[in-house]
Amino acid sequence: MPTYKLKINGDKKIVNVDADTPMLWVLRDHLKLVGTKYGCGIAQCGACTIHIDGTAVRSCQTPVSVAADYKITTIEGLSEKGDHPVQKAWLEIDVPQCGYCQAGQIMSASALLKANSNPTDEEIDAVMNGNICRCGTYTRIKKAIKIAAKSINA
């Protein structure tokens, strides 16, 4: 099995896995970073969202061989103390119900705000439509994104 050197959350990691192994399973099974969630495996639900060089991607569709060249950030590394403006806004609004989709929602939202610190409702929808929440926390998520945007722009 090939060896990959990965840059994850500022750490260097070495894994021996098949080249086609999705980053999702490298993170969860091999690196024990289980904050990134499995929901569909086909880029339809967004639960597995991570950042690759700051851009949100679906880790279930990103083979390790492709990811190895880039800087990877997972929910565990989004901030050191869980105090990224998006995480803080999530806590302020108390967004989660079951919580399972929320790491993915937060990773999508934080990448959105990085690219566009003042998104309109339509822009929020366009990006966030890739993240399903079966519990239906959508209105709270939108509210939290706006609060995070405010604090980023302040």
Partner: protein, 754 residues
């Protein structure tokens, strides 16, 4: 003054504390073993004193409260401990919450279902807190040599004013733990509540937003292998030959074998619903390797003959459930439901003489409503950890019915109950799906065979095509109006595959002189189970859409029309078994009318109203729709809810928002269809769930002020919104919607904005 009987005597207290090794945790829990946060570490006590099964107090005043019930996102892990904390009179800042172990000797009804956790836990939780407070007060009274009655408590501090003595809970904990539990203790007056009724943040929120391990799928044990199953691709098929030579030789694969999850001919409990008991299993080192090996299996599927299940009930008798043979189709389901054999129809309730009344009626309105099967689609797919050896079986994972599955596991593995341990992990959604724990049994059988700990993981496809669906339903309604537009006859005939959604004694039963309710059902080999607000999740929307049409025919405002009926039900109810309180029902309608501004005609706003009673709570919703760029958009949902005392208002509002969004989504977009027994949707590319842009922009929730003991909230906001949606769609587009998912019938040009 309210007194409550304590159920812990001295002996059970001693037994419990013996369990708590070294005064620490009540049973070792993997989740509790996750490192405490730095803030918690600083304040960790040197010693814990267990007061009763629900709580222990540290020498520094920190209190650990056990949350007894499984957490599926309904917030019980925060709101149940809040109730204990209230009666204990502790400062919420000093509280740590832990998921309790499964222990039915201490905790009552460790189950997430029926929206009953708070309602049925209410007394026990209050009693646990009040008992502990009593012991602390007694300890202080003894220490200070003052009368018990003169001791006061407030926010973790005990005081005796006359002698100017004060002590923190931590200082008295050691003494309190030694005092005998009295037979009864005093509860707080509801007007003195300081925690209940105030919003407290989700106790797991920080862990959730930072990606800490919490869920079953995150569970990990040294040496654990990953297992996956393959089940038949169609209902009505079963496993034949297996050629696994390719899969076996793939990297990381440890074994491939067949299992029989439940023993053939054995008695299954209600929570053991499973369509496929003969499965192929692949076990390996990592998830991706096992997923790939699954695809390399060559499997033969055979047509399954008619079979039967022996289902055991609560009382210990068994009934036989026939499982027909055949490969079913959604198209033929529709025809079968529309042409039900008269002999299958059963009268469930009859008041007056409906046929005579319909003859007298000036207007008769007849409509039919349907909905498809639905998959639960919890975001976390089914999974379970198992470590089964000869003399014990340990499990961990997401399960709504740990108490019942413990019994099923004891039966399956031939072990006494004490040798079964089930740890409850936080669940990535439940919605009823995890009431049925066949995956726990499967995990156990696999672990037993492998002689190692394993984690069974379902792919989304496994999860979505495995059955335990919301049934398909069908309801026919007929209403008769007299010349003055009074509703003089009402007839509902509702059925489904394989159960009827009818609730014969609910509104409008009791409000109409001539009322007839009938039900029927058709057999199927597609397995079903409870799905968020079972049965109500269809019949509410159907009934409330129908009443909207009847109101229109009668030339009445839809809220006025309902209130008129409720007034009748209140003042001169028809029949005796009416399953609702008309005054509370009317109360939520009045409140939603006020809060939504229903009476102000706003141009460009299209509104639908709906109200329903289920799971002991009342919900009325108004849905506001606007047309943007020629397409209907949901602007706002206003909800009025009467669920008695609201324990954690902001979390309750979250539930109400989620219920409305989830309800709109399922009525509008979701369906599970079958072709020759094969589920036609197996992942979110074809199975449509509501997404961000399709959700209402705002959900505005109002709770009726109440001092009635709390009732359910996980389910009640879900069913009625489907009616409000249909009624608003009619106002916005001129089209009535009878068949879910509505998206299949919305004209292209009025398709929802996505």
């Amino acid at each position: 003054m309210t007194l409550i009987k304590t159920t812990y005597n001295r002996r059970s207290f001693l037994k419990n504390s013996a369990l708590a090794s070294g005064g620490m945790m009540l049973g070792f829990s993997w989740l509790a073993a996750c490192k405490p946060s730095p803030e918690q570490l600083i304040s960790m006590p040197e010693e814990w004193f267990e007061i009763n099964g629900y709580l222990k107090i540290g020498d520094n005043g920190l209190v650990t409260i056990m949350s007894p019930n499984p957490e599926i996102g309904q917030n019980v892990k925060t709101s149940m401990p809040m109730i204990v904390a209230e009666e204990l009179d502790v400062d919420w800042k000093n509280v740590i919450v832990e998921q309790a172990p499964l222990n039915t000797a201490i905790f009552k009804r460790q189950l997430a279902g029926g929206s009953q956790s708070i309602r049925q836990g209410w007394d026990a939780l209050r009693m646990a807190g009040a008992t502990a407070k009593h012991l602390l007060k007694q300890a202080a009274a003894d220490a200070w040599q003052v009368p018990f009655e003169e001791i006061e408590t407030s926010e973790s501090v005990i005081t005796h004013k006359a002698t100017n003595n004060t002590a923190g809970y931590g200082e008295m904990a050691a003494f309190a733990a030694k005092i005998a539990v009295p037979e009864q203790v005093k509860l707080k007056e509801k007007t003195d509540f300081k925690i209940i009724g105030t919003s407290r943040k989700n106790v797991d929120a920080k862990k959730i937003v930072t990606g800490q391990p919490l869920f079953g799928l995150d569970y990990e044990k040294e040496g654990m292998l990953i297992a996956m199953i393959v089940h038949p691709p169609a209902f009505g098929k079963k496993l034949g030959d297996v050629n696994d030579s390719k899969a076996r030789s793939m990297p990381g694969i440890r074994d491939v074998f067949k299992i029989q999850s439940y023993k053939e001919g054995g008695v299954k409990a209600w929570c053991d619903v499973s369509a496929f008991d003969n499965l192929v299993v692949v076990v390996g080192d990592s998830t991706w390797q096992v997923m790939k090996a699954k695809k390399a299996l060559e499997l033969e599927w055979k047509v399954s003959p008619e079979t039967e299940n022996k289902i055991g009930n609560f009382r210990g008798d068994t009934r036989i459930q026939k499982v027909p043979a055949g490969l079913e189709n959604s198209e033929s389901h529709k025809l079968q439901m529309a042409n039900v054999d008269k002999n299958k129809i059963r009268v469930a309730r009859k008041d007056g003489n409906t046929e005579a009344a319909f003859k007298k009626a000036v207007k008769i309105i007849e409509r039919t409503y349907t909905c498809p099967f639905l998959a639960h689609n919890t975001m976390e797919p089914m999974n379970f950890f198992a470590d089964v050896t000869e003399d014990k079986a340990d499990f961990a994972g997401p399960i709504q019915t740990p108490e019942f599955m413990e019994k099923s596991a004891a039966e399956r593995f031939g072990l006494p109950l004490e040798k079964i341990d089930i740890q409850m992990t936080r669940m990535g959604g439940g919605f009823g799906r995890r009431l049925y724990g066949h995956f726990l049994i499967e995990a156990g059988v696999i672990s037993q065979k492998m002689k190692t700990p394993i984690k069974l993981v379902y792919t989304r496809e496994d999860d979505m095509t495995n059955g335990v669906y919301r049934p398909a339903y069908h309801a026919y309604y007929r209403a008769g109006l007299d010349a003055d537009n009074n509703l003089i006859a009402f007839h509902v005939r509702a059925g489904g595959i394989p159960e009827s959604p009818l609730a014969a004694n609910r509104f409008p039963a009791g409000a109409v002189d001539n009322y007839l309710a009938e039900d029927w059902s058709l057999d199927s080999n597609i397995t079903v189970g409870a799905f968020r607000a079972p049965r109500s999740n269809f019949i509410a929307g159907a009934e409330q859409s129908f009443l909207d049409e009847v109101a229109e025919e009668a030339g009445k405002d839809p809220i006025d029309f309902r209130l008129e009926l409720l007034k009748r039900a209140l003042e001169k109810p028809v029949g005796e078994n009416n399953d609702y309180e008309a005054a509370r029902y009317a109360g939520v309608l009045e409140l939603v009318r006020e809060k939504s501004g229903w009476d102000n005609e706003l141009s460009g706003l299209h509104r639908g109203v709906s109200a329903y009673f289920c799971h002991n709570s009342y919900v009325a919703q108004v849905l506001d729709m606007v047309i943007e760029n020629g397409k209907p958009v949901i602007e706002k949902v206003t909800a009025a809810i009467d669920c008695g005392i609201v324990v954690n208002p902001d979390a309750a509002a979250n539930m109400a928002e989620g219920g409305a969004i989830d309800g709109i989504g399922h009525a509008m977009y979701s369906e599970m269809t079958f072709k020759d027994g094969v589920p036609e949707q197996s992942n979110f590319d074809r199975y449509r769930l509501i997404r961000h842009s399709e959700a209402p922009k705002y959900v505005d929730t109002h709770f009726v002020k109440s001092d009635t003991d709390p009732t359910g909230l996980g389910e009640p906001p879900f069913p009625p919104i489907m009616g409000a949606l249909a009624n608003a769609l009619y106002k916005a587009t001129g089209e009535r919607h009878y068949h879910q998912p509505f998206i299949n019938h919305v004209k292209k040009e009025t398709e929802f904005k996505t």
